[in-house]
Symmetry: C2
Subunit: 160 residues, 2 copies
C-alpha cells in the first residue's frame, strides 16, 4: 500500500519524544531565570520570559486536546500564574496533557486539515510542527535574555 | 509490511519543504539587518548575526553532502564572507546544496547512524532535525537583536 514517497522517516512516537526533549530544555531555561527577571526583564519592547511562557502554555496542551477531540475551541489567553514555580507546575501539567492527547490522535489523522482555535486551518502535522518550532523560537529568545542577564543558559543539545 | 507504529506522519519531501520554508524566513531575517549591525551588533557577549549565520552555513550544506556521500568529513569553520550580500549568496548556494543532497539520501537511510563531522553519532533523522532546530534557535536570537535595534522582524509564520 506504500509508495517510496510516503516511506516513514519519523514515527508519531519519535516526534513526541523529540517534542518532549525540547520541552525538557525549555523547562530548564525557565528554571534558569531569577524570579524577578522572569517576570520583568525584556529586550527591545518584547514580551518577558513569563509572557512568552504563557503563550507556550496556551498552545501545547489546549491545542492537542482540541485536535484529539476534534473540537475547534477558541484560543484562550492563559491564566497567568503568579510565581515561576507556578509556571513550572503548569508547564509539567502541559507535558501530561501533551502525552495524554498525543496517544488519542492516530497517525492517519496527521495529514487531515484541522482548523485550530477556529483560526489556523492546516494539516494536523503542520499545526503540531508549528507548536514545536514556536517553542524553539521563543526559547531561543529567552537564551538572549539569560545571556543579557549574565546567566549561562543550558546547552542547546541537552534534551534529557 | 507496515505496522501502526511506523505509519508515516512526515515524508522526506514534506520535511524538506518544511526546512526550506524555515530557510526562506532565515534569509529574510538576515536581509532585515543593517549592514553594520549584521557584523557588529550583539547582546550579552553572544555572537553577532554574521557569526550565527556562519555557523548555519557551516552545517546545512556540508552536513547533507557528508551524509549523502557517507563521508565523515571533519567540521570546517566557514570562510567568512565580507558583506551581507555575500552571506545571502552563500545562503542561497547552501539551499541548492540542501536540495541536491537531500535527493541523494533515501528514506531508508534516515534511521541509520551517521557520525557527522566524525563527532556527532546519531541517526541521520536526528542529525537533520538538529540542523533545523538549531537554525530556528539562532534565528530566534536574531529576532531579539532586530527588536533591540528597533527593527520589525518578519512574521514567524511567513515561510514563502
Amino acid at each position: 500500500m506504500e509508495t517510496t514517497a510516503t516511506v516513514s522517516i519519523i514515527s508519531k512516537d519519535e516526534l513526541l519524544k523529540h517534542y518532549l526533549g525540547h520541552r525538557f530544555l525549555t523547562r530548564r531555561v525557565i528554571e534558569a531565570f531569577p524570579e524577578k527577571d522572569f517576570f520583568e526583564f525584556s529586550i527591545g519592547g518584547m514580551r518577558t520570559a513569563a509572557q512568552l511562557t504563557s503563550e507556550l502554555l496556551s498552545i501545547a496542551g489546549p491545542s492537542l486536546k482540541a485536535i484529539a477531540n476534534s473540537e475547534e475551541t477558541p484560543y484562550v489567553e492563559p491564566t497567568v500564574p503568579a510565581t515561576k514555580d507556578d509556571y513550572l507546575k503548569a508547564f509539567d501539567e502541559a507535558d501530561e496533557q501533551i502525552k495524554k492527547y498525543w496517544k488519542q490522535i492516530p497517525e492517519e489523522r496527521f495529514p487531515e486539515m484541522f482548523n485550530l482555535f477556529g483560526q489556523y486551518n492546516f494539516p494536523i502535522l503542520h499545526n503540531i510542527l508549528y507548536f514545536i518550532d514556536n517553542e524553539i523560537h521563543h526559547r531561543g529568545q529567552m537564551y538572549v535574555y539569560l545571556r543579557a542577564l549574565n546567566i549561562e543558559p543550558p546547552f542547546f543539545w541537552e534534551r534529557w
